[in-house]
Symmetry: C2
Subunit: 317 residues, 2 copies
């Protein structure tokens, strides 16, 4: 059944939730009309400020996202929320729990909430999230919050998708900082120590500050990631988070970083789509493909993988 | 300076350590003669049994690897060791510590030991490890042990590289099992609870057994991953590990799984090489490339990423 894409896009542009949901389903499911949808969305995109939220399980990501939605709504902004579930490549199981905390926004016509699983190969989050962000952008969202659990690659991937990356921590997870430091100290533009009414919040903030300070000296004009303390469940400190995000946005705009990040994002997205198309041509998923035949020759020692790759490209493209 | 590849390969085949080391450097560094090396190695490969060892920091991977080397040497086997360091994509820092425990094998001419960093993009471990494995295989290693820290993607990637994947745990890391379960319960062919002389070893083995048992019922003839307890530092239980590995090898050979795994590995390797070559053609790394120009048109809303990907493929290939 063919869908009337122009009409659907027009409705989404007016902010009709069902049209937005429908469009996300279309781009997520790689429907036959995906390309038509993407083409129709293109001229409507580029306005939304995309904020990535990541952190270990238990730091209060969902509560923080909800509190940020409330704060942006007070400011009259239209808000999109994308809750990304970076499933295992094997199990397909969900890591994100209930979305109960978002319920209070469920009836607000200026808030669009969507959960998204990203299992699958080449890219996961990198593959499906940008398309959903595009839909929310075209639907007139001023801010799109992309929330994901900071496990494995996902924290790195979210940084590649967002204009600003916000890393959440909570007290008593000092070991967590150590374990995750290789990742999170590189990607955060804004750090939030949530549950700051608990013991150890100051220690966590101090430790984080210390670890961030260990990097090389910053040049004048460089962005120094702020650390904001919040009690998201009570809304405490959330205005300060919005302020920190606004400062980062202003800094990026001033220093050409916003454009640079968006160009990098678009490059990566185009490349991922192109490489996926080429993988399909290689027949990666078919047992009787040319690739499978070449693999047989490699395991038999009749050829080497480089020569096989040359042959694959020469005979497929 | 051009290298006499046939002579180097002949020396490696005789088991000369310097030639082996030189060849690994050549394939690791993507030297201009990489293709010549790979072509020369191809007919000599396919004999080695590749065992991947993974586990969280602190479980005793290095000690276990060393103990396995000792056990295989007693059986008269030539052994290769590849200690892979899955560096952060950002920091380039090392995660693997000293290789002191391997020192005792350093003067054994039938043991080849190599550390390898895998920072970089498309693939990391998937990209450089298989080539080094090929060198060790061609050098007449009966067994190649590939050791890597189980963080993020690396544990999944090692499973894709090895004939048999061995997952190490240690007592008192129950939380570790929970945290890692999505990954390790899917990839282990053999489980080892090391430091079994410590409190909690039985509990760890029981918990693991319970979690492995939670999967769907196995069909007759399916492989049931054994759990072996060891004190690697004292060599205790290591013979049982070798026995478990031999059983798994025999089971794989009998059920066609060895061939299937090697074909999958070769397919993935060929595809990675081909896609990397295509990425180079796309000029992914150049700011003035066609890809960068297309990204600019996407961020400006002049085109969408799918149309841009089509154009990239059409104009590049």
């Amino acid at each position: 059944m063919s869908i009337d894409v122009p009409s659907l896009v027009a409705q989404a542009r007016e902010g009709r939730p069902r049209a937005v949901a429908r469009l996300i389903s279309l781009v997520e499911g790689a429907s036959p009309q995906l390309r038509e949808v993407m083409a129709a969305l293109a001229p409507l995109t580029g306005r939304a400020y995309v904020v990535g939220l990541t952190g270990s399980p238990g730091v209060g990501k969902s509560t923080s996202t909800s509190a940020l939605v409330t704060a942006y709504r007070k400011r009259g902004k239209r808000v999109g929320v994308l809750a990304v579930d970076p499933s295992s490549p094997f199990s397909g199981g969900a890591l994100l729990g209930d979305r109960v905390r978002m319920q209070e926004h469920a009836t607000d016509p200026e808030v669009f909430i969507r959960s998204m699983a990203t299992r699958g190969h080449l890219g996961g989050l990198a593959w499906s999230a940008p398309q959903a962000i595009r839909v929310l952008d075209a639907a007139g969202c001023d801010v799109v919050l992309v929330e994901t659990v900071g496990v494995g690659q996902s924290e790195v991937e979210i940084a590649a998708q967002a204009d600003t990356t916000m890393v959440l921590l909570a007290p008593g997870m000092g070991d967590g900082i150590q374990a995750a430091k290789a990742g999170i100290l590189e990607i955060g533009d804004v750090y939030v120590v949530n549950k700051a009414d608990r013991d150890g919040a100051d220690a966590t903030a101090r430790e984080l500050n210390h670890m961030l300070g260990l990097g090389e000296a910053r040049k004048p004009g460089d962005w120094r990631p702020p650390i904001v303390k919040t009690v998201a469940a009570k809304g405490e400190g959330v205005d300060e988070v919005v302020e920190a995000l606004e400062k980062h946005y202003a800094w990026m705009s001033e220093h050409g970083e916003l454009t640079a990040r968006r160009l990098r994002r678009a490059s990566a997205e185009i490349e991922t789509i192109a490489l996926t198309a080429l993988r399909e041509r290689f027949g990666s998923l078919h047992e009787d493909s040319r690739l499978a035949a070449l693999a047989g020759r490699v395991t038999a020692g009749e050829t080497d993988p480089y020569a096989a790759a040359d042959e694959l490209i020469a005979t497929t493209l």
